[in-house]
Symmetry: C2
Subunit: 143 residues, 2 copies
Amino acid sequence: MILEKKKMFNDFSASKGLRSTRQRDIILDIFLSTHQHVSVEELYLKIKSSNPGIGHATVYRTLKLFTEAGLAREILLHDGQTRYEHVVKGEHHDHLVCTGCNSIIEFEDETIEKLQEEVAARHGFLIKNHKMEIYGLCANCRR
Amino acid sequence: MILEKKKMFNDFSASKGLRSTRQRDIILDIFLSTHQHVSVEELYLKIKSSNPGIGHATVYRTLKLFTEAGLAREILLHDGQTRYEHVVKGEHHDHLVCTGCNSIIEFEDETIEKLQEEVAARHGFLIKNHKMEIYGLCANCRR
DNA sequence: CTTACAACTGAAATTGAATATCAAAAGCAT
DNA sequence: ATGCTTTTGATATTCAATTTCAGTTGTAAG
Ligand SMILES: [Mn+2]
Ligand SMILES: [Mn+2]
Ligand SMILES: [Zn+2]
Ligand SMILES: [Zn+2]
């Protein structure tokens, strides 16, 4: 799982002529060890604690590379913090976002995905990706 | 249509004890005259050209009021610009966003909306609102 | 093992959207 | 008209994110 991701990034680096650096290895390790939907700042602080030398800019740059390489996905919620989640090959999910406690529930719905394809086809539109976020209150926050 | 919106905002203002000001009237007029999905900066520039006195902050503040009043909706795409679109009472739509030419196609799909309700119900989640954006290439940009 | 050079890094500066501040102006109930 | 409160807008500030650039590092060739 983790090795597979590292291989993915190695292959990506090779294909792009990128170099292998200590910083990228460390950032990938720590990213893979975080929970889903980690914010850049959260990740940066976690990295700092074991590797004080690594800079802000490098973390931002490297997360963009992970996204390009297909092992991370950018998430923009409504809190001004960009988050990244882990991409699992062949899987896709969307989000229920609780505005009460900020928790995020993931879900998959094959029928919705199919209908999206149909909508796109009806407009001659070629889908690259999509996002769907449902905002509201989770079971805990409702009562 | 436009009169109805103005009434909506008047009612909202009254209910909140807000005052009626020249600036809010102008901003509402010009907002209602813009295309869908106008960015704050676009709107601000349009306002400036006929009303040089009106400030940046007022435009931001007033758009938030429109959103609260239920006649505008905030849209965050991936270009770092907050956009606002017109809300038509009783209607809802989502977006196909072309990454080639930045055009936006609106669509409605009642079945998808129903399925979202079901997903939420399955998780005991109470929906307040949602957004769905499908990114890709429009018919023109495909070829 | 050098050397050469492009890629990479990180501290610091910069950008840019959005918000906060606060004195002056304007709305409104009396 | 008066008095009080809201609103405004120039300006400052915030904060995430990007850019800059001099120094460092990876790597391929000699
Ligand atoms: Mn997720
Ligand atoms: Mn729209
Ligand atoms: Zn919750
Ligand atoms: Zn297009």
